[in-house]
């Protein structure tokens, strides 16, 4: 369980996280979604108290992270930035972390096998590929058998097989009753993994909803209609909240009406329909819709800054 209340972090003049409140519940995978630079990694650092918030607070399993007597048993974290000494072997890295909690060597070996690093465990971590580094990070996160697992962009650098493995691992961890909080800028990945979504843009919360609801809300009323009497149909369904886009002769995309409303209007006007398809937006599109303003604002801001410089 992670609970953030009015979490805010400034770096100099820049506000990285802005009044963020949310809670992450156990038993499900919660996706933490946002474009790059939207404050996901900062939020995770605040949760681990690596950085101190400017305002607000965040607790893990009811306590500030620092107050836990055995932090690695409470939260297992994989941060986006590498957190491994490049000169140390994977085995010694995990052993050093394990020893702070008196976790036995047997557990270190178990984790190395679990993430598939057995053959390279004695190699220096600096020689690891991105994917191997990611697996080492996941082994560190799971070392303490934590009740809350928090992973920042965990599929970065993983191959398709690794991504599938990660997906199953996350679902499995949630099914065991753990709190699973996973950040990503890849909507498609989240659609497959996350049950619930916290979406942020420019440090602010944009949405906090189930993945299912997020998708259906975002798809809105977009219907694709194919008709030999397209011009006639366009006239029939015209209204103040309706926009019609002509994709090609005889093919329309209608915003603002359901497929039922369009079908009824066509029947009443005696217009033949060859296709009537309610279009579901992909999570990707839904996300783009939600964050477009924030991204555009940011781009405009950058231009201003450049002009000023």
């Amino acid at each position: 369980m992670i609970e953030a209340h009015d979490l805010t972090k400034d770096y100099g003049d820049k506000r990285a996280v802005d009044g963020l409140s949310f809670s992450v519940r156990p038993g499900i995978v919660t996706g933490f979604l946002g474009p790059n630079g939207s404050g996901k990694s900062t939020t995770m650092r605040l949760i681990l108290e690596l950085d101190a918030p400017t305002r607000g607070e965040v607790t893990v399993n009811g306590k500030h992270y620092r107050e836990h007597a055995a932090p690695l048993h409470e939260v297992g974290a994989l941060l986006e930035a590498r957190s491994v000494h490049t000169g140390r072997s994977a085995y010694n890295h995990l052993l050093a972390l394990a020893q702070t909690h008196g976790i036995p060597r047997r557990r270190v070996e178990e984790l190395i096998d679990l993430v598939g690093l057995h053959d390279v465990a004695r190699k220096r971590a600096g020689q690891f590929s991105l994917g191997m580094g990611q697996r080492l990070g996941i082994a560190s996160a799971l070392l303490g058998d934590p009740s809350t697992v928090m992973l920042d962009e965990p599929v970065n650098g993983l191959d398709p097989e690794g991504i599938r493995w990660m997906r199953n691992l996350l679902k499995g961890l949630a099914a065991e009753g753990r709190t699973v909080f996973v950040s990503s800028h890849l909507m498609s990945e989240m659609a497959l993994t996350a049950d619930h979504l916290v979406v942020i843009g420019r440090g602010r919360k944009i949405a906090d909803t189930s993945t299912k609801e997020f998708l259906s809300q975002a798809s809105g009323n977009v219907v694709r209609v194919r008709s030999p009497q397209a011009a006639e149909l366009e006239r029939l369904i015209a209204g103040p909240n309706v926009t019609v886009t002509v994709l090609q002769p005889g093919l329309l995309e209608v915003h603002g009406l359901t497929s039922a409303q369009i079908g009824d209007a066509a029947a009443a006007g005696g217009v033949a329909l060859h296709e009537l398809t309610p279009k579901e937006a992909s999570l990707e599109e839904a996300f783009m819709d939600l964050t477009r303003e924030d991204v555009e604002f940011k781009a405009a801001e950058l231009e201003d800054e450049e002009a000023a410089a």
């Binding site: 650092r45 681990l48 108290e49 690596l50 950085d51 101190a52 992270y65 620092r66 836990h68 007597a69 055995a70 932090p71 690695l72 048993h73 939260v75 974290a77 941060l79 930035a81 590498r82 957190s83 491994v84 000494h85 490049t86 000169g87 140390r88 072997s89 010694n92 890295h93 052993l95 050093a96 972390l97 020893q99 702070t100 909690h101 008196g102 976790i103 036995p104 557990r107 178990e110 679990l114 560190s140 799971l142 058998d145 199953n168 691992l169 679902k171 499995g172 961890l173 099914a175 065991e176």
Partner: protein, 276 residues
Amino acid sequence: MSAHAHVSQLPRTAHTGRVTQARVALSEWTKLHSLRSTRWSLLVGFLLTIALPVLFAAVTSSHWGSMSPHERADRHPLDIALAGVNLSQLAIAVLGVLVITGEYSTGMIRASFTAVPRRLPVLWAKTAVFGSVAFLLMVPPVLIAFFASQAILSRHHILQISFSHPGVARSVIGGAVYLMLVGIFALGIGAIVRNTAGGIAAFAGIFFVIPPLMNVLPTSWNNAISQYLPSEAGRQVFSLTHGDHSLSPWPGTALFVGYCALALAIAAVLLVRRDT
């Protein structure tokens, strides 16, 4: 997807150990000995501490016949025996800085502070573990350096000095004490600066740049101030003779310990307050 696929392969563990200072110290021991930079720095420190005295003793012995009385009077056997400490302190100081700045440059510090979010146990453990290792590994070379240089100088009675002579054992072991404290001081500097190059530069500035600058001051000021510099106060523990303008061995050492404590105290305050 079947329900079976939704069970993670993560083996459970009944273990629920809490973080203790002793456990963090064990972890820091693992971190220290598992890096090549540690082994190299300590090996270089070990060898320099022995090699330089052996070289000086050999040169002094072979040139003794052609030396003027004044030159001969200037040679002190203990200065020869502990000459290596002046050089090996660099290797120990660099390692002291690296023990902490290496974690910042690689990002390891985030893993360390995630495991031990109270942070201070990490600083204390690093200090204790690195200090102990530096001391224990530097005692053999100062002893070897003493007895080897004495053996090489055995033809010259005036350059013979007994280990049981007052102050000799203290000075020889003092060489290792000094190296340990230099390492701890450097670790404190590294924790304040958080950057390898900056930490080494700061250490070099305090130990090798400021002392000669004191010569620019009027002699009376120089005499009054220099003895209280970390490098001057620190070296008294491995000096047999003490001038009018230097502290005695134990007050000097106490002052150097004070400088180490100050560096660590500043580091501790910053460590808890700063973002990582």
